[in-house]
């Protein structure tokens, strides 16, 4: 049985398939049809719901997620909030809802419940968001009718409405959630609560699929229609969801979500932060983990090129034995990683920046938000007296794995940081990569832009650089 809180009542469900989708359970079992399916891959946001989790300080932290790719058992011990939950006790619309009505924020209405929930999460977390924040919160909610204008207006104005009253107080909810702390007893679904437990569960069930945020594995089920009979869920492994700073490194637990890591990483490496801001959208980053982004071995994940360029290391663990490897060594070939049976990624060690260090990162895609890269580049280097040293460059989307540009690095290392040298480095890139053509970009475009990004990095580090980006940090408009 799994148990979770919904609208003040504890839901108890027996015999849940480990990959049963929250969306389908809501719509077809609970008859709560307000939450819609638009794409079943976490790309449109029509199924946005909110999940509440008890935090250490006895508060509930809420986050928007895509219900289509949430496996139902992962809700155990948590609170679920849907579009049907928001009306006040007296039947009044919630401020978010009323603001959307008053500002003509819906046309066909099909994306609207998801938009309501994305904005409700914003309403809970922030009291005066600016436009880039609103854009960010809504980047994962596609609307084909309105052009978004009235929705943005509604988001600005939603704070002007009187609060609605709810049936349960926060402390009552906390008490109810605490009553759910007893572990579930589902078959074929494991949710260990510590790294030690996890290490053992993985050894015991080598046939199980490990799920962290599920923003990739979820699609194996909804898109490839694969049956996963056994699942190990990482979301409750609390000691793997921490970030700590030690001896000049950030130690990022493999279960840390991109949302959690974004602020801290942005502070140290603004360009990396900006790449993270453009990974998926809010709902995806609320679930997706940095560890998962690495573990799945994708050649087009956006985390690895930045992390490799920054010299990040992985701590891999099997049972009680740990080993540390350079991140670039983890990726062996397409679909092949340096991960032994029973082993898992425990943490990522990211060196903190040094005084002479520059870090540049660029994500190139057809669309700015919620898109998969055509290519992504991270470049770390030191500049001293017009010379470039300690060059590390890595690209995603250019090869079968995220990969360092070794020939290009070598052509730059120790040389003068000028246009002639940059042009040589651009040529050297042809030794490093032979990209492919697909629906995202052609090989020619990938190669040309990969080269141009080195030029861009150069120009951005010259004195009094010209304007080089069409979109500023945090999605702020330029020009």
């Amino acid at each position: 049985m799994i148990r979770f809180l919904l609208d003040g009542k504890i839901q108890e469900i027996d015999d849940v398939r480990p990959t049963e989708s929250l969306l389908s359970y809501l719509r077809y079992n609970l008859q709560k049809t307000g939450t819609k399916e638009g794409c079943a891959e976490g790309d449109c946001g029509a199924c946005t719901v909110i999940i509440g989790e008890l935090s250490d300080d006895d508060q509930i932290s809420y986050k928007a997620v895509n219900a289509c790719i949430v496996f139902l058992p992962t809700l155990h011990g948590r609170e679920l909030v849907t579009v049907e939950s928001l009306k006040g006790e007296d039947g009044r619309l919630h401020p978010v809802q009323q603001s959307l009505v008053d500002h003509h924020g819906s046309q066909c209405g099909f994306c609207t419940p998801g938009i309501v929930m994305a904005l409700y999460a914003l309403y809970l977390s922030d009291k005066s968001p600016d436009l880039p924040q609103i854009n960010d919160v809504l980047a994962g909610n596609l609307c084909r009718c309105t052009g978004y204008g009235p929705i943005i207006t509604a988001a600005h104005k939603m704070y002007d409405y009187p609060e609605t009253t709810t049936a349960l107080s926060m402390s009552e909810k906390v008490a109810l959630l605490k009553s759910l702390e007893e572990p579930h007893d589902q078959k074929n679904y494991f949710a260990p609560t510590s790294k030690d437990d996890l290490a053992q569960v993985i050894l015991d069930h080598s046939d199980a699929v490990i799920v962290a945020g599920g923003t990739d594995v979820g699609l194996w089920v909804t898109k490839q229609h694969r049956e996963l009979s056994k699942v190990i869920y990482l979301g409750n492994v609390m000691d793997m969801k921490q970030i700590s700073e030690r001896y000049g490194n950030l130690h990022i637990g493999a279960g840390v979500t991109y949302t959690h890591a974004m602020k801290l990483i942005t502070r140290h490496y603004p360009d990396f932060g900006e790449v993270i801001r453009r990974i998926g959208a809010t709902q995806v980053r609320n679930q997706a983990t940095i560890g998962g982004n690495i573990a799945n071995g994708s050649p087009i994940g956006d985390g690895p090129p930045c992390l490799i360029a920054l010299g990040a290391k992985l701590v891999l663990r099997r049972g009680q034995v740990s080993r540390t490897i350079g991140l670039e060594d983890y990726f062996i070939a397409y679909g092949e990683q340096d991960l032994k049976a029973g082993e898992f990624i425990e943490e990522i060690i990211l060196p903190l920046p040094t005084a002479q260090q520059h870090f540049k990162a660029y994500k190139i895609s057809k669309r700015f938000d919620q898109d998969i890269s055509a290519l992504c580049m991270g470049m770390s280097f030191h500049l001293e007296n017009g010379r470039i040293t300690n060059v590390r460059m890595a690209y995603g989307g250019m090869a079968a794995t995220p990969k360092r540009a070794l020939a290009c690095e070598a052509s730059l290392e120790g040389g003068p940081w000028n246009k002639a040298q940059v042009e040589k480095a651009m040529q050297a890139l042809e030794i490093d990569f032979t990209p492919l053509s697909d629906m995202r970009a052609s090989e020619g475009y990938r190669m040309q832009v990969a080269k141009n990004l080195i030029l861009k990095a150069y120009l951005e580090t010259t004195e009094d650089p010209p304007q080089m980006r069409v979109l500023g940090q945090e999605g702020r408009a330029i020009g």
Partner: protein
């Protein structure tokens, strides 16, 4: 008197949209014994089917029925016109994704899994995927057309300047958020009731009857709302409804067919992609003296609506401009890809962008401002006002709208600033463009311009409204209810808006061609007037008062010196056996068209608008942003300004998406590679320009007596997005110092922009 029209009212369902209480078809309670359906699709683009064994599918546990072409009792066709869209493939398949058979099972997962077990052998044939391949072998799916006025060949010869060129315009997926779906239940006598997410209930009804071999009165189609349509649910829903209805007839059980996003995008038609060739002659002032166009389109494997879509492209290749000697050729090509269909604008956008590109090209050649070229070519008021199809433009307000927008947005000053910026910015370039829109309103197939409505007044004074239009988010139901409330002078919430049903309003046209409120609003007004006249006549007799002294106002009826509530009058009328139900009907006057000669008046009137867009382009990556957009649009005397502004903003963003990020990629084998939002990118919230000013033109007034002098608004604003494309071209032109035409195809993806930049740089060197 209370005004219900010309006033902002919220969408009638908005409070249900936001609370999750608005019911879409998949939200309906599922009937007892519901079967779930999956349609098996062809894995190849063009092949003979040499063997098909479906027994393994039938034997899979949980499968209840497997139906294919041999099971169709009527005609195996769901095409809107030409008889070339088989419900299930027979001897051959002609696109990847074509329907082969339907599996009915106890769950969708079972149906989907079972479908994979079919044993089918194919003899693969050569496939034609692109327009170029089709042109090579003259694979026309429909007769080529020529629209002509004057002698373009001779005038081209004698022109002061002449430019020729070629460019391509990509297609577009509708990406309505709710995919195709239908729910069919068995009724007695072998009848079926169909909930279908469709813009055209009557066509679904007629085609299902055709497939089942039963009269139309055995099929009822109903829907309350769609989660978006945009033309994608005009002809496409019949395929799914017919398959589900067939299952219901064969099994006696209810059936639901709900496509997931991938199947929806693979199986259903899209906007036609076009290739444009132009040959234009012009004088020193930039005035066009002769022009020839060849508009070539990819129609896909069947005709569907390709005939009127391509005709509409021809009708809009003039846009707002007088073309003195003009020949517009149109070729419609057959390819082994999904059959392209209606999409907001219906060919108009593709025709319009052709002439807008020509304006840019002329400006570059003469070193002029593109806006100056546009202005000098505008239709005149009393001369130079005949279209290539010989309709006289009598309501031309483009010059006024352009002038007002140019001045309001400081176009000239900003253009200067942009040129200055580009001189100092080596890699980022800005561009600006002002483009107008003139869009013809009416179905070009004249008989479609008709509509019906049905109004009941109940004895308590509440009103029940039906009409033939469908609600897909555009606010049609709200507007029509406003018209009825206005006529009766009763509160909007006294008018119940209900499902569109073929058993209430028969033989309707699709809710398409921007015609929804024009046609259905007038039909409803007609019905309301009939009822109102009955009530007036009754009240006059009852209270011994002259009919002209009876006034409806504020939920009351003033009968001479007396006042009665509308509800009481309804009750009195009922007690006195006055019929309180009426049908209304409307047909658009004045229109006629001789298609053979491409002459006539296909359009009742034109809708106008204009937009200025400013963009920023990165010449190292091709990335780009739309920085600012200003729109001035003519909706006549708007029925509902809030709804109309929503249509304009949404239409513009959709047009911008079509021309920038939305790229459909087909493989050489004819496989659509972009069939989900992970690979097909419609605009997101952050793509909306940060400065986005949208205004209704305050002098708007329909010169024709359309419903309350408003103008249709569904499609025209989409074409305002062309200003973004022209602005991108302007930005790229700066790389060649505004001397060379950047050969950019649409969509202007980062890759396409970078390619054109490189192309231009190699030309400069």
């Amino acid at each position: 008197m209370a005004e219900f029209v010309h006033k902002a009212h919220a969408h009638d369902s908005s409070h249900k949209h936001v609370s999750g209480e608005a019911i879409y078809i998949d939200d309906l309670p599922e009937p007892r014994g519901l079967l779930h359906l999956y349609m098996a699709q062809s894995p190849v683009a063009h092949a003979n089917i040499t063997a098909m064994n479906l027994d393994p599918v039938r034997e899979y546990p949980g499968v209840v029925a497997v139906l294919s072409a041999t099971d169709v009792p009527g005609v195996n066709d769901v095409s809107p016109s030409a008889g070339d869209d088989p419900l299930f493939a027979e001897a051959k398949v002609e696109y990847m994704g074509q329907s082969l058979f339907v599996v009915a099972a106890e769950s969708l997962e079972i149906a989907r899994r079972a479908a994979k077990l079919a044993e089918i052998s194919y003899e693969e044939l050569d496939n034609i995927v692109t327009i170029a391949q089709a042109r090579e072998i003259d694979a026309d799916i429909d007769a080529a057309q020529i629209m002509q006025r004057g002698d373009s060949a001779a005038a081209l010869e004698g022109a002061d300047h002449r430019e020729t060129g070629h460019f391509a315009i990509g297609g577009q997926d509708h990406f309505y958020l709710e995919g195709h779906i239908c729910l069919v239940t068995p009724m007695e006598d072998g009848d079926v009731h169909i909930f279908s997410s469709t813009q055209h209930p009557s066509e679904v009804q007629h085609l299902v009857a055709h497939v089942l071999g039963v009269p139309s009165n055995a099929v009822t189609v109903e829907l309350r709302r769609m989660g978006g349509g945009f033309g994608g649910k005009e002809t496409q829903p019949a395929l799914f409804a017919a398959a589900a209805a067939l299952v219901v007839i064969k099994t006696g059980r209810a059936a639901k067919l709900c496509l997931d996003r991938d199947d929806d995008m693979i199986m259903t038609g899209k906007r036609h992609d076009f290739e444009i060739d132009y040959d234009v002659g012009f004088d020193d002032l930039g005035r066009i003296t002769a022009i020839e166009f060849m508009l070539s389109s990819r129609c896909g494997y069947s005709l569907d609506l390709s005939l009127p879509v391509n005709d509409r492209a021809m009708f809009h290749a003039d846009n707002c401009y007088y073309l003195e000697n003009v020949t517009i050729h149109s070729r419609r090509f057959k390819t082994h890809t999904v059959s392209n269909t209606a999409f907001r604008g219906f060919g108009g956008p593709q025709g319009m962008i052709a002439i807008e590109r020509v304006m840019d090209v002329i400006a570059l050649r003469l070193g002029m401002d593109a806006l100056a070229v546009r202005k000098i070519n505008l239709y005149g008021k009393s001369t130079r006002n005949i279209t290539p199809y010989y309709q006289t433009v009598t309501d031309n307000v483009a010059p006024e709208i352009i002038a007002e927008l140019e001045q309001k947005t400081h176009y000239q000053r900003r253009r200067g600033e942009i040129r200055a910026f580009n001189k100092t910015s080596p890699y980022l370039k800005k561009g600006i463009a002002l483009t107008p829109v003139k869009f013809g309103i009416s179905f070009t197939l004249t008989h479609l311009n008709q509509a019906g409505a049905l109004i009941h007044i109940y004895a308590d004074g509440s009103v029940h409204l039906n009409h033939g239009g469908t609600e897909m988010g555009q606010g049609l139901f709200t507007k029509v209810a406003q018209v009825v409330a206005q006529e009766f002078q009763i509160d909007l919430d006294r008018v119940k808006i209900s499902s569109t049903r073929t058993d209430k309003i028969p033989n309707t046209s699709a809710t398409a061609a921007s015609s929804g409120s024009d046609l259905n609003g007038m039909a409803a007004l007609n019905a309301a007037k009939i009822l109102k006249n009955r009530l007036i006549k009754f009240a006059a007799e009852q209270h011994d008062c002259k009919p002209e002294n009876i006034i409806f106002r504020d939920n009351m009826v003033y009968v001479g010196n007396k006042q009665i509530s509308f509800a009481d009058l309804a009750n009195q009328a009922y007690m006195n056996r006055i019929s309180l139900s009426a049908n209304g009907f409307y047909k658009t006057p004045k229109i006629h068209y001789d298609r053979k000669n491409h002459k006539g008046r296909p359009f009742y009137y034109f809708a106008y608008g204009a937009a200025v867009s400013e963009v920023l382009v990165d010449t190292l990556t091709g990335e780009n942003r739309v920085l600012r957009v200003d729109i001035l649009h003519d909706t006549g005397k708007s029925l509902n300004p809030a709804v109309d502004i929503g249509q304009i903003e949404g239409g513009f963003i959709q047009g911008m998406g079509w021309l920038t990020t939305e790229e459909l990629v087909y493989s050489d084998r004819g496989q659509l590679m972009t069939h989900a939002p992970s690979t097909y990118k419609i605009p997101t919230c952050g793509d909306r320009p940060e400065i986005f000013n949208v205004e209704l033109w305050d002098r708007g007034h329909n010169t024709e007596p359309a419903i309350h002098r408003s103008k249709a608004v569904g499609e025209p604003p989409l074409m305002l997005g062309i200003s973004v494309f022209s602005a991108i071209c302007d930005a790229v032109s700066s790389v060649g110092d505004y001397k060379i035409n950047p050969r950019i195809n649409a969509p202007a993806t980062p890759e396409e922009i970078l390619r054109s930049v490189a192309d231009m740089q190699s030309n400069v060197k």
